[in-house]
Assembly symmetry: C2
Homo-oligomer: 561 residues x 2
């Protein structure tokens, strides 16, 4: 099917903006600028879909166009299955995607059901109509590094004067140099594939390239000394580069890696081979390729640990390189350096902070620029946030409906009315819509990866303090509570980024149409949603969450005893 | 801890009746008359608990006593974990129990978490504070047989003049003779353990006993011919009894079985042994016991199939005797007779019918007697319902707070205002509370085993027409939708009667306090809740559900195409 994307402007097809917002968000997910394969209803992440079939898609649109302000549409794995009377404050759409009873909760059974047309993979934001293109990647990396800077360099402006050494300039990893420079720092990134470096330079994600590590170090040190932003792609194997730094007794401030180490055959390049030679070896002798790749990984991890001993801040960036050498090289001490979630994301989650995003239903970029200004005015002291908003405005191209992402949390102690960060911002946007400063309503939603919305033992809830990684009561309570609080769309999915049976997560949308009803919903949902993050982490024993609860007046039952 | 049960009367400890109802239902679950081991917080079904620990129990009560009319308490596996502002129409309590991410969704991981105090088994109604003692067992059996009568003997009054042959007079099975006579029929039940027969006679569940099959058949035929109710326990092995019937060319109208055939060592008795001899053999040679038991089961199933061929209506009553001989005796044609859910319960589920229950918070039995009268007045044409209510009133002892259970569904076509059966009844009770005819509010809730609230491939969703047995989107949508519709307590559990990883199910409560708000909630929730049953079965392709939707005006998207 040919596909156009979302309607824009101020005329609506539905009975109200809440229903229209659902219709536009679903269509925006399928915008050719946003979706990977809109013709197959695939939005991103392998087979993450927005609807089960084109018939189901048509059915959803038909129901949304007729849906009353006191009705709720039910969507089961991308198919509309019911409409019931509820009430104005209740959600207009409730979605459950890919959920399976535990014993059958695996890819095999999922694919069997899928082949019979009975289920759909919703990924995280695809099946909940909340995907906004790739700006989330750069922003997530930016925020991770900003948190690292806050923890390790509290007296520095971001990463100013700091050098980050990393590897891998692929789809995700390519965001690293830009995320470092956005934070004011210097990045040296190893990449074996020269074309990848060139692509990052063309698109402005990386500044320079070189084959010469000495030159890279020299330029990096000069830039750092001058407090300037700088990034360089070094055409070299990442393991070789880190060993080279150790030989030269050069200790970068931060060391990490985003080569595709999770896959020792298709993802990671062994040392001692050019890309072409390695590609050949993979074809002719995959077993040998694996051995070579794992041998390089072992050296790679050892170099990271040695740099950590020498004073670098080291962390794993979600590519499972530690797990690989532990499992295949018996190197248990690989886990002597931490993963990025426990180290940098979880402290944010403890404060209810997570990737909050908003979309201008008008289609008018000016509406987002107005919100960019608003978020800066509201949070004058947040340097990293200002830096992100300015750079995003300059450097992030909109895909589909104009949108923005930033991390906001609970932290109601900063507000005289006791409003959370998220609620303050949403109420401000709602006022701008009411005043006509923004042309049409704005939808506020988020990633399923949020503070209190996910159980995912391989990623977001890895290594929880109390061992409650796999307890899925939390995302279910999140969805129930946000439904109770009046979110306009609420969803619960199985799988997401880590695959069927590996995670349960929930999402929600609130439509800011300038009305009092929207204000009421926003005030409540943007308290309950980050609040779930605070209580989930307080329950697991995290001190930051208990402090946040105390400071912000979040009720933790049984805490006072 | 010493334990008392629920407070009663019209004075309340909480800010409103919705919170008080939660407090009383939780305490009622733990009433020594209701709970198996109240001192351990265990309500029923192995380790089904009402709260995670006594500290958690105290914490829940403390929060409920302080909870405002616009606040919602979150309970995570029996522990209070948060309180947030929502609104009056939202639930006062949201509960998620024992839910685990799929890959970890098994007893082993559950027990590990349980031993660290991080999770609790909620069974079905224990963890959602909706258990009301054992009257559900007799009622479920009664309703199954009533549905069988409706299907096979549409022109007969219930089972009048019909003879049911069965086996097993244990904890569940002992309800069979009474359920048959309550339906106006005649029951011949084989039981190897004479003491069990005596116990059923003492408690009025069975009328007579004999060792002599000829006598049992003669008396049964006389009673059936006279249209009289009659039941007899025959002290004989069930397989031998059915073979004896075949030899005598006696064909009962109905044949089933509730011996504990699911367990070939601890549950089922082999033919050719007294109970004492078999108990000895189990000790001395368990392998031989197994062989003997399975050999008897094979004969048992063959006799059921032969009786079916001869004209009996045959069904399996949830004891897995078909599965046992298929798996251990390669007897695939065992499944030539159906299970009770597909045969008799699913047609009810298709119409949104399920076990609806209500509890008088006053503690006054008169309040339930008033509702007994009301349900009969409201549904004058439903004979089986009248029969059940009269007999329940006479024969079912209250345990804890007085309560009642009966099956009601959607079927709004019978009502001029288009109200569902459940809504009509709830609104009637609400009026009686408002008028003071009932002393204090009444809570309406149900079993998690309901039409649209459960995914359980080994029981409630076994052998769904489209193969969607394991799809858990439905119970999650049920919980979200009932939250949206305004139920006062909503819960989602993993496991229940079939164990961790084998089912996901949802429940809800509505508090009828005589107010307009209660009427609004009741009207909506008792439409959405049975409505989920209708749409779930319509989606799976059941004609009865599609007919119900058409007759009652339930919206099925994409149906009109
Ligand atoms: N943080 C997270 O939650 C998160 C999210 C997504 C992906 N990841 C992980 O990050 C990793 C990178 O993802 P991506 O999308 O960028 O992958 P990608 O495959 O697009 O890019 C990997 C890059 O690494 C290069 N490379 C491989 N081995 C190398 C070596 N030894 N030295 C130097 N360069 C080498 C490749 O040439 C390629 O350009 C993956 O393991 C992925 O699973 C983490
Ligand atoms: N319908 C359902 O959903 C459902 C619910 C619960 C239990 N069940 C099943 O029903 C069965 C009975 O449950 P229960 O709680 O009554 O069990 P129970 O163990 O309390 O009683 C079983 C009775 O059967 C008798 N018995 C065993 N083998 C016999 C034989 N060959 N002939 C005659 N009598 C024999 C035993 O003496 C005992 O009295 C179980 O298999 C159980 O799993 C079904």
């Amino acid at each position: 099917r040919e596909y156009q994307g979302s309607p824009t402007g101020t005329d609506i097809e539905c009975e109200g903006w809440r229903q229209e917002a659902a219709l536009r968000m679903l269509n925006n997910n399928l915008d050719p600028e946003v979706a990977e394969k809109p013709e197959d209803l695939v939005v991103y992440g392998g087979t993450g879909r927005a609807a089960r079939s084109w018939d189901a898609y048509d059915g959803i649109l038909e129901e949304l166009r007729e849906l009353g302000d006191d009705e709720t549409l039910l969507v089961q794995s991308g198919k509309p299955v019911g409409v019931f009377e509820t009430h104005e404050t209740a959600p207009r759409v409730l979605i459950a995607n890919s959920n399976l009873v535990g014993k059958w909760d695996n890819w095999e059974h999922f694919h069997e059901l899928e082949s019979r047309g009975l289920i759909m993979y919703g990924q995280m934001t695809a099946g909940s109509w909340a995907y906004i293109g790739t700006q989330g990647i750069i922003q997530g990396t930016f925020e991770t590094l900003a948190e690292l800077a806050r923890q390790h360099y509290p007296d520095t402006d971001g990463l100013e004067g700091k050098i980050v050494a990393t590897g891998g300039l692929g789809g995700m990893g390519g965001a690293q140099p830009l995320a470092v420079t956005m934070n004011g720092g210097v990045c040296i990134a190893a990449e074996v594939d020269e074309e990848r470096i060139d692509r990052r330079i063309e698109t402005g994600y990386c500044m320079e390239k070189t084959d010469d590590l000495d030159e890279a170090i020299r330029r990096a040190e000069e830039a750092a000394a001058a407090g300037e932003r700088y990034s360089v792609g070094v055409h070299v194997n990442a393991a070789d580069m880190l060993e080279g730094m150790l030989e030269r007794e050069f200790v970068p401030d931060v060391v990490t890696d985003q080569t595709s180490a999770h896959d020792e055959l298709e993802g990671y390049y062994p040392s001692g081979y050019t890309v072409a030679e390695a590609d050949d070896l993979r074809e002719t002798d995959p077993a040998e390729y694996r051995e070579e790749a794992l041998a390089t990984m072992e050296r790679h991890v050892r170099a990271i640990l040695d740099l950590q001993d020498a004073g670098s801040v080291a962390f794993e960036y979600g590519n499972n390189i530690r797990g690989q050498v532990r499992d295949h090289r018996d190197m248990d001490h690989a886990f002597d350096y931490p993963g990025f979630v426990p180290a940098y994301i979880r402290p944010l989650f403890c404060r209810g902070k997570g990737p909050f995003r908003w979309v201008a239903l008008s289609g008018n970029p000016e509406d987002i620029h107005r919100t960019d200004q608003a978020v800066k005015e509201l949070f004058p002291g947040k340097d990293a946030l200002h830096r992100w908003i300015d750079l995003a405005r300059d450097q992030v191209q909109f895909q589909g409906l104009p949108s923005r992402v930033c991390w906001l949390g609970y932290q109601s102690e900063d507000d005289e009315d006791g409003l959370t960060e998220r609620a303050r911002f949403a109420l401000r946007i709602n006022d701008l819509v009411a005043d006509g400063e923004i042309e049409a309503p704005v939808v506020v939603t988020r990633d399923h990866l949020d503070a209190g919305s996910v159980a995912s033992p391989n990623r977001e809830t890895e290594a929880m303090k109390d061992g409650s990684d796999a307890v899925a009561d939390w995302p279910i309570l999140n969805a129930l509570l946000n439904t109770a609080a009046g979110a306009d769309i609420v969803s619960v999915h199985d799988g997401g980024g880590v695959g069927i049976g590996n995670a349960i997560h929930a999402n929600n949308h609130v439509v800011l149409d300038g009305t009092d009803l929207a204000a009421e919903k926003a005030r409540r949902v943007f308290t309950t949603d980050p609040g779930m993050g605070v209580i989930r982490h307080a329950d697991a024993g995290y001190q930051e969450a208990i402090e946040e609860a105390t400071a912000s007046g979040v009720t933790i039952p049984m805490e006072d005893d």
